[in-house]
Subunit: 380 residues, 2 copies
C-alpha cells in the first residue's frame, strides 16, 4: 500500500492545453493515495485498471481499493511485464477484458505501469467501443516523463516498434514520484535518458540543471518532482504545437532513429537493451553524427556523453551487450523506422546542446560513413 | 475489367463537410474506369488495395492497373469474404501487409469491397502507423449507401459486433453503381433495407419514392444512382451533426438493436442472416414496438412491412432460418449491444414513417412483453 502524501508535500500541475482534449498532469510524492478522489472527479461509473504483474503486485490492490471506496466499479487486467506485451495478442486480450468488464463510453481504462502498459492500455482504450476515456498512472521514470504525455499509444508489429496504434489523449495523468522508489535502477537510468533529452532538444539551461542535480533525481528528493514536471512541460509544449506528429514533434525523436535500430537488432530483448538505453546511445550518436557533419562542436558531443556515462548509461555501439550487428543491419533498422519520408532518412541533429533540429533527406552514404567511423573509433 | 463510364452518364457528387476531414462521395455507373485519375489526384505515391476474394477476382486487377497507369505503386491484400473476417486476426494480417507494402503516412489504403472489407481496411488504415489515409470503393449496395460513409470502422469481438474500432474518415468514396450488377440478389436486398431506413428515419417523401421506384434501383437504372446518392446525403447529414456518435447519429441505428441481437443469435452465419436482413426485421420490430407502445399507428408499421416483403426481405422473427432463440437470448443480445447507456436499453422508435427518435431508458419489462406478444402473433 502506497504511503499517503504528506500534507505539506507539494503537487505540481502541468496543464496540457489541447482544446477539447485538454488535460492535467499532476506530479508529486504520494499521489496514489489521492487517486481515488482525483479519478472519481472524472465522473465515470467503472474503471478497468490495466497493469503488469510487477506493478500490479506492488500497487494494483491499493488503486482498486481507492476507486471502490469512491463508488467506482473497479477491475484489474494484468499482463506480463516486458516489451513483448505490446503485441496484437495482448491488444485482443486487453480489449476483450475491457469489454468483459462492461466498460461503457463514459467509463475509464486506467494504465498503471510503465510505458509498455501505458502504450497498450491507451491503444485498447482508443479502440474498445471506438474509444473510451483513459487515465495514465505512470510508474516508471520513462513513463512519467515521456510516454504518459502526448497521447501516442500503440503496439509493435513484426515490421517494427510502435507501427500500429492511435493518437488518444488521456483525461488525466497522475505521476506519483514515490512509486519510483521500487523501480529497478537500470530502469531509472533508462528513464533519465529521456529527461536529459529535453535539455538537449532546446533547453541548455535544463541540461546544466541535470548535470548539477541528477543525484537528487535518483535519490528521490524534490529534484525528482522538478525533473518530472519540467520534462512534462517540455513534452507538452511540443505536443501542443504538433499533436499528430506532422512536424515539430519529431524533435522528441532525438536519439530514437539510432535507438530503435538498436532495439530492433537486439530483438527488443530487455536483458540486452531497454528503450531508454537505446535512446542514450542514440543521443550520443546523434551528437557525434552532428559533429561528424560539422554541425556541432565535438566538445558538446563529449559533454553529452560524459553526463550519461556519469549516471551509468551506455553511450556507444560497443556498449550493447551481445553486439550491435553490422552497419547494414543498422541502416536497415533505421530505414524500417516510420520516421522515413519518401525513402530518405530523417534524423534529429543538433547545432549544440539545446539546439536540435529536424534534418530531412540525410543521404544513406553519409550515415554509412559515420557509422564506419564510429565502429573504427570504438575498436581502438 | 469494368466498362468505362459512358461519356453522358452523370456522376453525382455528395460532399461531406467535416472541416479538415471533409471529403467527397462520387456516385455513378462506370466510375471504376476513372478510379486511377480520381485516386491519383490525392497525391499519394503508393496504395494498398484491400479486398475480399470474391470482389478481388472481379475488380481487383482493374483497379490495381488503373493506379499503376497513374504512377502509383499498387499492391493487393486479399482477405476471405464474410463477417468472420472482421476479426483481430485479420486486423493483424492486414496491418502487417500494409506495413510490408511500405505504405507511409502520405500513402493510401483502398477498401475495395462490401462493408466487411470497408470496416476492416478502414480500421487498419486508422491504426497502421497511427493513421494513413484511406479511400472507399464500396462494391455492395449496403456499403455504397451506408458503411462507406461516416468513418466508423472496426472489427468484431467475442463480446459483440463492431465493439473494437476507430472513427477514421475516408479521403474519398467512389461508388460505382455498375459494380452492383454482379452482387448476389440477396445482398442487393439486404443493402436495400438500409436505403429504406433513411426514409423511415426522417424522410417520408423518400419512403414514398422507394415504394414507387424500387424496381429501377434493383434493375440498375438511373433510380439506382439516385437511391445511392440520396442515401449518402442522408447519412452524411447525420454524420456531420454528430461525427462521434454522441447523440443524433444513433438514429442511424434504427432496426439495429434488434438486428444485432439476431445476428448474434445466428452467430453471424450469413447462410442464415446477413446484416441487412437483420436490419429489415429489426426495423419492422421497431415500428411494431412503437405501435405496441402506442407511439405510432399500426398502419404505418404495416406499410413498412409490406414494402420490405415486396422486395423480398424478411420482416419477422420467424423469418430467421433455424430459429431466433428465446426471448431471454434476444434480450441478452440487446443488452450486450454497445448502444446501452448505464444499464438501460436505448431504442430507436418512431411516431410514424419519417418520424424516428432516440428513446433512452426503455424498460426491459416492456421489451419482454412486446417480444412475447410478437412471438405469440407469429405463431398464429
Ligand atoms: N507513447 C509514447 O509516447 C512513448 C514514448 C516513449 C516510450 N514509449 C514506450 O514505452 C515503453 C518503455 O517504457 P518503460 O521504460 O516504462 O518500460 P516498462 O513499461 O517495460 O517498465 C519497465 C520495467 O519496470 C517495471 N516497473 C515499472 N514501474 C515500476 C515500479 N514503480 N516499481 C517496480 N517496477 C516497476 C515494469 O514492470 C517493467 O518490468 C516502450 O515500449 C516505448 O516504446 C512510448
Ligand atoms: N461502418 C459502418 O458505418 C457500417 C454500417 C453498416 C454496416 N456495416 C458493416 O458492413 C458489413 C456488411 O457489409 P456488406 O453487406 O457489404 O457485406 P460484405 O462485405 O460481406 O459483402 C457481402 C457479400 O457480397 C460480396 N460482394 C460485394 N460486392 C460484390 C460485387 N460487386 N459483386 C459480387 N459480389 C460482391 C462479398 O464478397 C460478400 O460475399 C457488416 O460487417 C456491418 O457491420 C458497417
Amino acid at each position: 500500500m502506497a504511503a499517503a502524501r504528506a500534507p505539506d508535500a507539494p503537487v505540481i500541475t502541468v496543464h496540457v492545453p489541447l482544446g477539447d482534449r485538454a488535460y492535467d498532469i499532476f506530479v508529486g510524492r504520494g499521489l496514489l493515495g489521492e487517486a481515488g478522489a482525483r479519478i472519481a472527479a472524472l465522473g465515470a461509473r467503472a474503471a478497468a485498471i490495466v497493469t503488469d504483474s510487477n506493478v500490479g503486485a506492488l500497487y494494483g490492490g491499493a488503486l482498486a481499493d481507492a476507486l471502490q471506496q469512491r463508488g467506482l466499479r473497479a477491475s484489474i487486467i494484468t499482463v506480463a511485464p516486458g516489451e513483448a506485451t505490446k503485441s496484437y495478442a495482448s491488444l485482443e486480450t486487453v480489449c476483450d477484458a475491457v469489454l468483459e468488464a462492461r466498460i461503457e463510453r463514459g467509463d475509464l481504462v486506467i494504465a498503471l505501469g510503465g510505458g509498455v502498459v501505458g502504450d497498450l492500455a491507451g491503444f485498447a482504450a482508443a479502440v474498445a467501443r471506438r474509444g473510451v476515456r483513459f487515465v495514465q498512472v505512470p510508474t516508471s521514470l520513462l513513463s512519467q516523463v515521456d510516454s504518459s504525455v502526448g497521447g501516442k499509444t500503440g503496439i509493435n508489429s513484426r515490421h517494427g516498434k510502435n507501427l500500429v496504434g492511435a493518437f488518444h489523449q488521456p483525461s488525466l495523468v497522475l505521476a506519483d514520484t514515490a512509486l519510483l522508489d521500487t523501480l529497478p535502477i537500470r530502469e531509472m537510468r533508462a528513464g533519465y535518458a529521456e529527461v536529459v533529452k529535453y535539455g538537449l532538444i532546446d533547453d541548455a539551461g535544463f541540461f546544466d540543471w541535470c548535470e548539477a542535480n541528477w543525484q537528487g533525481v535518483f535519490a528521490g528528493g524534490p529534484e525528482r518532482n522538478e525533473a518530472v514536471a519540467q520534462s512534462c512541460r517540455a513534452k507538452a509544449a511540443v505536443v501542443v504545437r504538433d499533436e499528430r506528429e506532422e512536424g515539430d514533434r519529431a524533435l522528441l525523436n532525438l536519439g530514437h532513429t539510432f535507438g530503435h535500430a538498436l532495439e530492433r537488432i537486439t530483438r527488443y530483448d530487455s536483458a540486452r537493451l531497454v528503450h531508454g538505453e537505446g535512446v542514450a546511445i542514440g543521443m550520443c550518436l546523434a551528437f557525434r553524427f552532428s559533429a561528424f557533419l560539422g554541425l556541432c562542436s565535438a566538445d558538446d558531443a563529449t559533454r553529452v556523453e560524459r553526463h550519461l556515462v556519469t549516471v551509468g548509461l551506455p553511450t556507444r555501439l560497443q556498449d550493447v551487450p551481445g553486439g550491435f550487428g553490422t552497419v547494414d543491419e543498422l541502416l536497415d533498422g533505421m530505414a524500417q523506422d516510420k520516421k522515413v519520408k519518401a525513402g530518405a532518412l530523417t534524423f534529429i541533429l543538433a547545432r549544440g546542446i539545446g539546439q536540435s533540429f529536424v534534418a530531412h533527406g540525410i543521404e544513406i552514404a553519409k550515415v554509412r560513413a559515420f557509422l564506419n567511423h564510429e565502429i573504427a573509433a570504438t575498436r581502438t
